[in-house]
């Protein structure tokens, strides 16, 4: 494994091995001294073309807990405006000895393109509407911890599926691991071709969609969807697709709640359930660190990974 670009192209075994490794590295977060020598002398760049504090912090801490040196590059201003392409930016970093690049970009496919140009490992930290593989992995790890398995689970993803890279990574991973997926959201934000996917059900009806589910992943609703004309109002969205204590009763009694964050409390999800014992949102954040340590170790650890 040279890069982590998508979950779509990983086998169930690949995913499970990464989850096992993540599980075993999770305890590092609790150690008094969170500094393992594993990646000592390795340099990692966080190349974030789109601002994101949470994901970047998580990657940065994961790298630092394993003793890698991290630099954060947000090339929005300086070099790009001077006419430098993103490939120039990347090549510069490679020439300076960077061992791996973590990249986020608002255009789908940029990490894939970069991975073809450079020999160092590329980790996709979210590309456009395409994928966010470490988020998908941390969601799987959380599900597995909560339910003991993923095979046979029924998992709902609620919200703006069309624009969601989180939804895509979750869908591919859940299908690979044997779960059934229910996609629920407004008709204008639902990619219609997903109806054709096996083990995927698509509905616009929250009540119908939540029947018998073991877990609910609630997606963040971007406020631009209202101004962009995709939905009439946040209020109407909340009335129809907001996950509340009321709508939760349609799911299984032990169904858990997940959210990739940051949450719009009172829009797609209510505070009372976000803060309830059924919420695994905090665990997701914690697992994010474990998954990112595992991915860094997997891609940088060991003699030449093919």
């Amino acid at each position: 494994m040279k890069d982590l670009l998508t979950l779509e192209h990983l086998s169930a075994q690949d995913i499970e091995e990464l989850l096992d490794l993540s599980e075993n590295l999770g305890e590092i977060v609790d150690r008094p001294i969170k500094k393992l020598p594993t990646l000592r002398g390795k340099a990692v760049v966080n190349l974030f073309f789109e601002p994101s504090t949470r994901t970047r912090n998580s990657f940065e801490l994961a790298a630092k807990y394993l003793s890698a040196d991290v630099i954060n590059v947000q090339p929005s201003g300086s070099s790009v405006e001077k006419g430098e392409t993103l490939w120039d930016t990347a090549d510069n970093l490679v020439q300076m000895g960077i061992d791996a690049a973590i990249i986020r970009h608002k255009v789908s496919g940029v990490p894939q393109q970069l991975a073809q140009m450079v020999s160092i490992p590329i980790i996709n930290a979210g590309d456009g509407m395409h994928e966010h593989p470490t988020q998908g992995l941390l969601d799987m790890l959380t599900l597995r911890q909560a339910k003991g398995r993923i095979d046979g689970l029924r998992v709902a993803i609620v919200g703006d599926i069309l624009h969601s890279r989180v939804a895509r990574s979750d869908i591919w991973a859940l299908r690979a691991l044997g779960a059934d997926v229910v996609l629920i959201g407004p008709p204008s934000l639902m990619p219609d071709s997903f109806r054709q996917l096996s083990h995927v059900t698509v509905t616009t009806d929250l009540k119908e969609g939540l029947q018998g589910v073991d877990a609910i992943q609630v997606l963040r609703l971007q406020k631009e969807r209202q101004t962009g004309g995709d939905i009439p109002s946040l209020w109407e969205y909340r009335a129809r697709w907001g996950v509340t204590a009321h709508s939760l009763q349609w799911a299984k009694p032990d169904a858990i709640i997940m959210h990739p964050g940051p949450q719009n409390r009172g829009v797609e999800i209510d505070s009372d359930i976000l803060d309830s014992s059924r919420s695994w949102v905090g665990r997701q954040v914690r697992n994010g660190l474990a998954v990112r340590m595992a991915v860094l170790f997997r891609l940088l650890g060991g003699a030449h990974n093919e």
Binding site: E27, I33, L36, T38, L66, G302
Partner: protein, 184 residues
């Protein structure tokens, strides 16, 4: 073609682990403030057996921690990627405690060096001691075992294997060398 020579059979292993348990108790004047730490993989069941032996001697079973030194190796860049198992060490079992590391074979000493680094990340032990079932020599670091089941002089190219019931379904230690004899 490979030649195998038996080093320890099941009875010999049982006796060695009992002797090590006695030595640990004797050296430390009991088991107060002691933690055994098994090094993945075969050091873990050996640590549990030594702890149980100590229990029969002293009437008190010392706690056993588990350590995977995969994240502390200094040679992983030369090896293919391998997964890392879970580590479970509680800091309050390390700070001010006597930590007895347990492993199956002592060879270059690099695993033990990594294990000492790992233990230090969990706290500051009063002392670290080392128990191994077999010491085969060829140290590359200034490390020696405090408790040894059997010293086995070996050639560098020979391989020492320890099998334990909990992992391999049998208790046995043997030496293996290629049929052509030693390479230099």
């Amino acid at each position: 073609m490979k030649n195998q020579a038996l080093l320890l059979d099941a009875d010999a292993i049982r006796r060695a682990l009992m002797r090590i348990a006695h030595e640990i108790v004797e050296r430390n004047h009991g088991v107060a403030n002691m933690t055994l730490v098994g090094i993945r993989r075969r050091g873990v069941p050996l640590a549990h057996r030594i702890a149980a032996n100590i229990g029969t001697i002293e009437g008190e079973v010392p706690p056993v921690g588990v350590l995977d030194i995969g994240l502390y190796r200094d040679d992983w860049e030369q090896r293919p990627f391998s997964n890392v198992d879970a580590t479970s060490l509680a800091p309050n079992r390390i700070n001010g405690q006597v930590v007895v590391l347990v492993d199956d074979v002592l060879f270059t000493g690099r695993t033990i060096r990594a294990a000492m680094d790992a233990v230090s990340d969990f706290g500051r032990p009063k002392a670290i001691q080392l128990a191994v079932l077999i010491d085969r020599g060829h140290r590359e670091l200034p490390i020696r075992a405090d408790y040894v089941g059997k010293n086995v002089p070996t050639a560098r190219a020979e391989r020492v294997y320890v099998k334990v019931q909990e992992v391999d379904g049998m208790d046995q230690a043997y030496l293996e060398r290629d049929g052509k004899g030693e390479d230099a």
